[in-house]
Symmetry: C2
């Protein structure tokens, strides 16, 4: 547990009578009572948070979710909803004082409908993200949400946390990929907002309220997702660049040069690339150029490459030549095949495992306006070095979204306990800087437990009060994922 | 006024003392008291609704808005916020029983910042939409919101109503064009959510709650808008097509063929085209083909057309040949110059004035899932003809958004009063059909006054209750645009 005081949450216990009522709703196979069985549900993915729950309840359908929530509402029992349990902020992990239930959506994993002509599909909350990507692909369509945990995270959790990932630049965050939702409200009623509509101006847009609420306002049970044409002509390039300012200028010009087909634009540092090459077997340096900054740039089009016609790679070649001429790109290589493209992506995606192998570190998931990124990196690195001069910065991230994973490895040979002594001061310095630049202290990972107090520290009273008013209005008994996102 | 019972709204009058307090805040030039001066503000754009207000208050900046709202909150005085007063549902028009103020944002019309590299601009709520389009263009950028009233509607109203228009297919509704908002809450506090962030996962997304709320939850005072690359290579085509089913199949394949550069896709009927040609001087039939259905298809790319390279028009030619081969397109013409393209657009945009010239009519702004449009048109036309066999249907609209302006001209020589006798039955039949197909009874025009009772009739109690909970939580005194969207 971090140094976060446990908030006041309902502590009505699950009595044997309630347990029998739950059993009557979901059956024996919908309940997990033994400690060993509950352990993976009450421990967070990173292993840093451990909570507790009287019982893990695994309903088979929306009606069972509704009955379970209604029972809890009547009794005042707290509920922690959970999808694939891959969140990084503890939003799906119960507090150690939690005496209620953990509601796992994992059995609700059916794709209910795919409409290729209408570019949409209707799915249950417990569908694994990668399964949905594959389902879309099998209909020659594309579901763009893509992130490290896609093999186990579930779409309900992705939507509840408004997940980000490497395709946000082009397609937007998870909330932009949704046409409609079905949600079980804190009183157990089912809100049927499962509309396949691109346009619907009929009152308050409730779906946007549930997305990003991390399960504190209700349980997402189904969704209608948007689909896109499948990419058919993809070009991946690895660029040695002058500096982060060049990166945003390159991106700014890439939109037009690619005919708005920029898919990803990821900034990497030399230190970061070296760390991956050191720890991840089979990775190769795409470029020998020894410069401090690199860009992974991917353009993709849904139009198949025709013989003789200009494709993405010809457009990219021309663009890179222009950018070299302008002094922004120092050297560059275009992937000539799937293996080369894959190698570039592995370098980007393997930063997390490589940094774990390297030793203890710190990371901040921040965003600022895109044009302020160079200034932020510059000042943020200085601020951290002022506190701990031997810390090793390796900023990287989704530069096209203004989202930097502002990361540091501890000094060589410094252990976690020692590094932890510097952490609060560095965190404060980084988040102060973010706030002074009107940025976000959590660009894509959310609040959960980890940033509960940081949010309270940095957000205005007016904003926090407005959120609290909404929470109280929709969940008057504070049973829905209590003590997450907001302290009441 | 339609046959809508006046809802219960606060009726605290503006006393001379309150008037003096208002004068102290906004000065003499911020107040309009005489009936002639107030008339354009209390009458709706169509001339069909006439309300009243004690005073029109025109603040010069956010601080003045905040002070005015705070005063009204303390006194319990109702506020009707208004932008360009071009809405079609009466959302900005006071009820005849309104005794409070009308708050006009028109003096707050400054563009505060343009960030071309970051693709954003920060503007005040009273900026006229067309001015913002021109501001973006002068920085080689594109602000895509585009609709008939763009010469006088204001961005604050566009955002409050989540406006649609002819670019939604590619760029989304107004809510998708926004990074951040500043809002004066019903208690007069200023919520500063004016962030230029593409990603920000820090609690409930309040901005999406204010957009589409039609001023019932607060007053939008500033916004950070997203910008896009300016279009450089645009191709407009006019297609005679087999039927509406062909239209959605054409669109479905157009995404890939254009490399995701479909800008607009508007369905028109022969009857509708003829009506425009009859009434609007200077318009010319782009195609002589006498088929019942046409499609206006526009592709645009931000990449300038290079000599010898394949541009949008070559891609369109190839695509149209393929679609003719498939039997979906019967005949087609590609605009060869700006004048020909303009003529195609005028035919689409002049439907509203042409129908006013033609005589009394009815129109429903509905949406269904895209793949259900052919079935909806078919059944909807039948339902209306069953009620009034000589009514003349001319469905048209944003087929790529699933949004049809389902319109009818009254029978030849039937006057408005007689047509009005059939209106309630036709409205019920159309909206019943929409609802049975899980569609929306207001795709882009909103609720306002006109659809207050229709929304209450068709939406579930759970959804209405959830909206009411939010309204009461944020506006406990019900002073903010009371009696719009929802009856409390």
């Amino acid at each position: 547990m971090p140094d976060t005081a446990i908030p006041v949450i309902p502590t009505i216990p699950v009595t044997p009578a309630v347990l029998e009522s739950l059993r009557a709703i979901v059956g024996d196979k919908g309940l997990i009572l033994d400690d060993q069985g509950k352990q993976p549900f009450v421990t967070d993915w990173r292993g840093s948070l451990v909570g507790t729950a009287a019982v893990v309840v695994r309903p088979a359908n929306t009606e069972e979710v509704s009955k379970v929530v209604k029972l809890c509402y009547e009794q005042g029992i707290a509920i922690v909803p959970q999808g694939g349990n891959t969140g990084l902020m503890g939003g799906a992990t119960p507090w150690p004082t939690h005496q209620g239930i953990l509601l796992s959506l994992g059995r609700m994993n059916h794709v209910l409908e795919v409409d290729p002509v209408g570019y949409s599909m209707t799915v249950e909350a417990g569908c694994v993200l990668q399964t949905l990507q594959e389902t879309a692909a099998s209909h020659d369509r594309f579901f763009p949400l893509s992130l490290g945990a896609q093999g186990s995270c579930m779409i309900g959790g992705n939507l509840s946390t408004n997940a980000g990932g490497v395709q946000v630049l082009r397609y937007g965050n998870a909330r932009n990929l949704v046409l409609g939702l079905e949600v079980v409200l804190p009183n157990g009623e089912i809100w049927n907002g499962l509309r396949s509509l691109k346009k619907d101006n009929t009152g308050y847009d409730l779906k946007h309220l549930f997305m990003g609420a991390e399960g504190t306002l209700g349980v997402i049970t189904k969704a209608v997702l948007k689909l896109w044409p499948a990419p058919k002509d993809v070009c991946t390039a690895w660029l040695a660049i002058r500096d982060p300012q060049a990166a945003i200028e390159i991106l700014s010009e890439a939109h037009a040069a690619s005919e708005d087909n920029v898919g990803s634009c990821e900034l990497m540092s030399r230190a970061c690339t070296d760390m991956v090459l050191r720890h991840i077997p089979g990775t190769q340096d795409p470029l020998k150029a020894d410069t401090p900054w690199y860009l992974l740039l991917e353009w993709s089009s849904s139009r198949p490459r025709a013989d003789g016609a200009e494709g993405m790679s010809e457009k990219m070649e021309q663009f890179l030549a222009d950018q070299m001429e302008a002094g922004r790109v120092l050297d560059a290589v275009i992937a000539q095949n799937e293996a080369q493209s894959r190698n570039m992506w592995v370098i980007r995606e393997a930063v997390a495992p490589a940094s774990r192998a390297e030793g203890p570190g710190l990371s901040y998931d921040i965003s600022v306006a895109i044009s302020k990124i160079p200034q932020f990196i510059d000042q943020g690195v200085k601020a951290a070095l002022d506190i701990l001069p031997s810390i090793r910065p390796y900023p990287l991230g989704h530069i096209g979204d203004g989202n930097i994973h502002f990361s540091f490895m501890g000094p060589k040979d410094m252990d976690r306990a020692t590094l932890n002594q510097y952490t609060p001061a560095i965190t404060r310095a980084v988040n102060d800087l973010v706030t002074s630049m009107a940025g976000s202290i959590s660009a894509e990972h959310g609040i959960g437990i980890d940033k509960l107090d940081e949010l309270a520290h940095y957000r205005s009273k007016i904003e926090l009060d407005t959120m609290r008013s909404i929470k109280r209005a929709l969940d008057p008994k504070n049973i829905m994922n209590p003590g997450k996102v907001l302290r009441l």
